[in-house]
Symmetry: D3
């Protein structure tokens, strides 16, 4: 039953409007046990000339990029070892924490660290989830890893989850958890 | 600048209204790069007699419980090994996936599985994060573990993250990742 | 999908609010092919101190009575030959038109006119329908008549329809059509 | 004083908007004794991209045709004995009830039935009135009949009223009452 | 035709609401040539729990006092030479400018300055007018003066206008113009 | 915190919208002690087809001119002794009251009256202030005068204030107060 009206300044494209409408719908569902179809969202768009704060017309800022898309693009660039593209997506103060390695700040460090661990690793995604954190968007990506151990033996189906912070559209933090050590310890051949 | 008006049926307590207002504010911030203070949320409460769909008055359902609070309570009950309380918080189809153990469906299985792994484990939380998933709330709890290995040696500062699904106020799924195996493999004494 | 918000002054009881909400829902359905459940009506009630026209607070007038109920009561009083009650429901300029008798202005004229036609007549209703006309509510009541011919023979299932005008809560016009003459002409025994 | 705001999806032409605004005004007048000039209706039009239910954009359906116009066109086609046009305006389950003839389902039956009753009949209208019924629009047309009896003698000023049900723009039911039998019985010459 | 909706936090008394509604009506009339009766103002009151900025509930401040009433009270206190009351109505930085005397900052200076000018002076008001200035309310009081010249001869009907600045409810500036010098110069007896 | 929504008919240009938004903001500040930045104004523009009173679409009237601009233009025309332009700005019933001269109704009278008083006079403005009066806009212009006495000696810094009534865009009344007589009386050389 809830009806949400959002008054926003003109200038958002349809994708941003859809993301906003979806995010507002989700927000309602966190609190109100309404069937999704009973949740209505209406956007009201104001041209700059129809909006004033303190007697002054204001302009809106462009929409933030979809943080899930930003993370997806970043992870794809990293898998393809396209470090230039990946690096362009990073924001000031970027830091990474991996199992057994915390406080990495450059992609080169990450690559050096991973070298003895596997020949390559790729991700199969079960899902991406975004939420608003303190001053940043938080994105969770989870699924399974497949790739090759240093000796060339293949592995797959290893659970992972990544947590990203995306600040003003740039990735500023990555935390990674996975079962690689667990799998190795359990005596899987070649691990 | 966005102004969000939410029309809801009467019957939500102040805590639910605050959670709704906060969730709507967060939703806006995922898309619109406005300073928090520039995001206004107004609730309009409708008595049952002021709301109709299809020419019929409707009543609202009670608010869903705060999913973060539900998870927090569940984790506290588990740490205290208060299985009755913990069990009462579980919903139909509850399933758990831990490093090296997937598809557990009872708390007893979990306890049996953990016995050879550590004497006890407790959690220090860095944060709880909730978002709306498909038909359920998703809660992430992350932080570090401390406790004792089977031989009584202490451990601490081991990173973990838990993902919960909370359906209609009940916990229906828990996925856990942590660095326990990593820490053991790295030759920490006593591990 | 349409959402109708009605801002009204305080002072309407729940029955009036329900009638207003229903009437607004019906109004939408005359034009918009939405499923009834997709039509939402919200009332916003304003205390007198929250409403101004021309810089002056205004008070609302009491709701009009339900015109269908007014007609129903009038017809019941007439069937019971409770002329005092019926007369109290009539407004200035009241006029009646019956098959073969137009321009009657008093209930006594009506009774005199009906005397040679039947001993008594009662109504079984198929439905009441109301709409807003020019300066008055219009109510249609339709169904079938049963009763006794002057010779005491019974009749029933004779179709009728009455049209009423209800001005400021009072009945100001009644037009009646029925198949009595048709039934008589078709040689029904005793007619 | 009531102010009605209607939020509708884009796509209605000016005629439909005027009909909706008028219907909402009428709805208010059925309950609230406000002077017409004190009843304000505002339409808010939403582009598809500004409206969501359940997180999904929805499109509006085209407006229903004016049911009074539909009935008027049908009656004109029937008077002109343009059966093809009239038939095209009928919906599934169409049924007609006339004085002395109920349950007719084809226009041919109607014509056969009327043949012995009059050479021709035409209508002078006093008014058309529409309201929303259960799942259909209801239209009342009333006025007087003129025409020729089977022997060619003219008649006029015979009261009639027709009730139509219009479902999804198609006529699905017609009920007719008139004073033809009354006039004949009252010994009018030639009747 | 304009309809103004004002959403304010709970806590204003009826007088403040009336003043707000009147001020909004006046604001419209400065720009839109609508008949006053065609200007509608609706207040929507929000309890604190229904309003958030930046995800935080906010409380409203108490209404400012009516600046015209504040000025009226001050002028009455001054006429009655009730300096204590008058002084209590003054704000920080209070300054007065009179014909031939600018920059007075205490009521005592004013009284000393006026002593050689008249025995006493009182005001008959033609009107009070208030508007919002930069950071303060501005009030104009105008009318005529009557009183006695130093020699005891009476005078009256001398035009005056006072301009006040009222900051946060306190009088912070008074500018006075009048025709006293003009009247004296024009050779009025005793002036 | 107050949020003001103004529903107006289409047809106002950006300048009129800005003036309306500013006037509404000022109106709020007269009553509510909110920081200017906490006062939001939103205009909602309705095309004629989206607005009805009494079931009838209505058109809006063109915006009134800015009364301050009207007064400014008039004063400039008078200073330039462009009487034709000034006269074109006057409305029916125009009247002027000056120190020592009340009830002037033509610009020629004013000029004749001022001739013995000064050779010429020009204005330096400290501010223009407008408010809505009873059926007219009221504009205050204040500042200082400079010019030459009849003997050619210069003067300056003489305080003045003018009050104008602007009815339907035309100046209908001017009241003037100043310190010319005070300055002369105080024995300024040449005065």
């Amino acid at each position: 039953m809830p009806i949400i009206e959002a008054h926003v300044l003109e200038g958002y494209d349809n994708d941003a409007k859809t993301r906003l409408g979806k995010a507002l719908t989700d927000a309602v569902q966190l609190v109100v046990p309404a069937a999704p179809d009973a949740i209505t969202v209406i956007l009201h768009e104001m041209p700059r000339t129809h909006y004033m704060r303190g007697g002054t017309h204001r302009s809106g800022a462009p929409a933030l990029p979809d943080p899930c898309a930003a993370v997806r693009d970043y992870l794809a660039a990293m898998e393809a070892r396209d470090l230039d593209s990946a690096r362009a997506m990073l924001g000031a103060g970027f830091v990474m924490n991996f199992p057994g390695a915390s406080g990495l700040t450059t992609l080169e460090e990450l690559i050096a660290w991973s070298k003895p661990r596997y020949r390559f690793v790729k991700k199969t995604y079960d899902g991406f989830e975004a939420l608003q954190g303190e001053g940043c968007a938080v994105v969770y990506a989870r699924g399974t890893l497949y790739g090759e151990w240093p000796d060339g033996a293949p592995f797959d189906s290893i659970r992972f989850i990544d947590r990203f912070e995306v600040t003003a559209g740039k990735i500023t933090r990555q935390d990674v958890w996975n079962d690689i050590a667990e799998v190795k310890a359990s005596g899987h051949p070649n691990a």
